[in-house]
């Protein structure tokens, strides 16, 4: 388990974003930015994922999907809110169908600002998330270690 931060898997969910941030997340996977060189793989299965990337705000349609996905992920896990929409609701904050940022429904560990975020910023955010993941892992091990030994 100690090597989890060497090869974290991410799951990406598109909230009610404008796509601007989504395509930048996708751009991270492609040759110019290529986050696979950090061992990061994009997966569609929440059970496989360590990092939850969310773009776009939360609306009344996807709130349950986001909660479900978060709950299905196994500990330790971190949540990265990508883009201003995911951070606070952004320009759509006052829309009738938007509840606000991701932190309205699940705890967020890293906020990546920008509209649209730049791929470099996303990578930075993920790298920060790795630090938090490591802390959470150590914490979890301490708790479980005490019980096991």
């Amino acid at each position: 388990m100690a090597n989890i931060t060497k090869s974290p898997w991410i799951i990406h969910y598109d909230g009610s974003s404008c796509n601007g941030c989504d395509i930048e997340v996708l751009a991270c996977l492609t040759p110019l930015y290529d986050i696979e060189r950090f061992g990061i793989i994009n997966t569609g299965n929440p059970k496989h994922a360590d990092i939850f990337l969310i773009t776009g705000g939360i609306n009344y349609q996807n709130v349950d999907i986001v909660k479900n996905t978060y709950e299905q992920m196994v500990d330790p896990k971190v949540v990265v809110a990508v883009g201003i929409c995911a951070t606070s609701g952004g320009v759509f904050r006052e829309c009738y169908n938007i509840m606000g940022g991701v932190n309205e429904v699940i705890p967020v560990d890293v906020y990546v600002p920008g509209c649209a975020v730049r791929p470099e910023a996303i990578i930075d955010g993920v790298v920060q998330a790795l630090g938090i993941l490591e802390e959470k892992r150590a914490q979890l091990e301490k708790e479980q270690g005490g019980a096991k030994k």
Partner: protein
Amino acid sequence: MKDQNTTMRGIAVSDLVKETGAFKAKGCRLVQIGCTGIGDAYEINYTFDKDYVFETVRITVHDGDVIPSIAEHYWASFIYENEIHDLYGLTVEGMSIDFGGHLFHTAIENPFKNPPEVTKVEKETPAPGPEEGDA
């Protein structure tokens, strides 16, 4: 830069299906149906196009009116008519596919509906008495 050729004229609701049929006979395609709230009524614009001449006909309706669907001439109208139903709470009769209000899921029902007429009630202003004085 060239100007785009768009025209607009108002018609009666009862003429809608007939007018649409005329557009169809001319070989126009349906470009869009769009609704606008104007205080106590709604304008619904039907846009048709042939050779980049965009012609719009407009009907004016009120809350509770039943709008005839133009599906008999344009099957594809269902997508716009359902949108109008979901966002404005207007009833469209005879749609080719009726989603029953499940096309758009919104937090508040019919978000674009005109606000109900508010009859202003004269607020009772408490007579400023010395006992509530905020000196």
